[in-house]
Subunit: 192 residues, 2 copies
């Protein structure tokens, strides 16, 4: 029997570089990114099962009633949620699954999955974070101010995570997360 | 200010390869092996501060009375103990310190050093362990039987350690311990 894979919950403020870090991690065949489900319509080239699982409102609500989501929310008349089934299936196959989720979502996952591992990706400083957000060239001034305020709030919650990894150099940060994955599998409570 | 180094307690049955693993780890400038103190006389080329700190009985007993040891024991009219002072000093300098110690000793350290990290080095199987002990060519049959019996007892205690690392390939085993060191430093309770 294969050893069950880990569930990694990764959070961090916008601009901390979560997406890039996760993109590196999933290059490993054995690491999968959990895909969210939504009732909003696909945009452009978006494919079902790639960017999102696209569900009808009825399908989504049926799944809610069957306890099919770790957490879900409704924004602007659409549902968004983290389906349990693919995560459990991958873990049973021995793959590690990453859930990229905000601080509130992480709390809900922790309540349900006692053995999940939570990692907070931290920018080296608020100055660097602001520089990165501006560097995107896609954010309005108003948005940047909003995001910076939210980031400041989020950083105070990092201590609630199991691990805090500073994303100064991408390579070091990815190696840090890989070390966490390797070490967590050696914890005796996972082996006995 | 430098971040305080870790205290790693490493145990495992004779023949599991602790010594070789530790020998690899201390090649890193930042990792130190704690040296025991003893009142027995130096043998052959043994040097004070290298194999042991050689103390007189009076010095050792003075240090006991000053709470200078994590743990100590008396065998065959000689004292053996793990002095606290060099460990604390190295940790303050930001170095990680390894204490190679038996299961009983590990318990005593854990009671005193709440943030220590305990690692149990496990042979891949009892068969391999016996093969390794015989391979040494220095153990009597009686000793091998005694050591094997003790190993069996010790293996049942591995679950009390924070991490259990199987020493199948030396390189993998050393990398496992390095991952534990790296990950432990990222734990949020060490950072906040």
């Amino acid at each position: 029997m294969k050893k069950k894979g880990l569930l990694l919950v990764i959070s961090g403020p916008a601009g901390a570089g979560k997406g890039t870090v996760v993109g590196e991690l999933v290059k490993d065949e054995n690491v999968r990114l959990s895909i969210s489900a939504t009732t909003r319509a696909p945009r452009g080239q978006e494919q079902n099962g790639k960017e999102y699982y696209f569900l009808t409102k009825e399908e989504f609500e049926k799944s809610i009633s069957e306890d099919g989501f770790f957490e879900y929310a409704r924004y602007l008349d659409n549902y968004y949620g983290s389906p349990k089934k693919p995560v459990e299936q991958w873990r049973q196959e021995g793959r590690d699954v990453i859930l990229e989720i905000d601080v509130q979502g992480c709390k809900k996952i922790k309540e349900q999955v006692g053995d999940c591992v939570s990692i907070f990706i931290m920018p080296p400083s608020l100055e660097v974070l602001e520089k990165r957000l501006r560097g995107r060239g896609t954010e309005t001034e108003e948005n940047i101010i909003k995001r910076m305020k939210r980031a400041e709030e989020e950083l105070t919650l990092a201590s609630g995570y199991d691990y805090v990894v500073i994303n100064d150099s991408l390579e070091d940060c990815v190696d840090d997360v890989r070390a966490v994955i390797r070490a967590e599998k050696l914890r005796s409570e996972r082996q006995y």
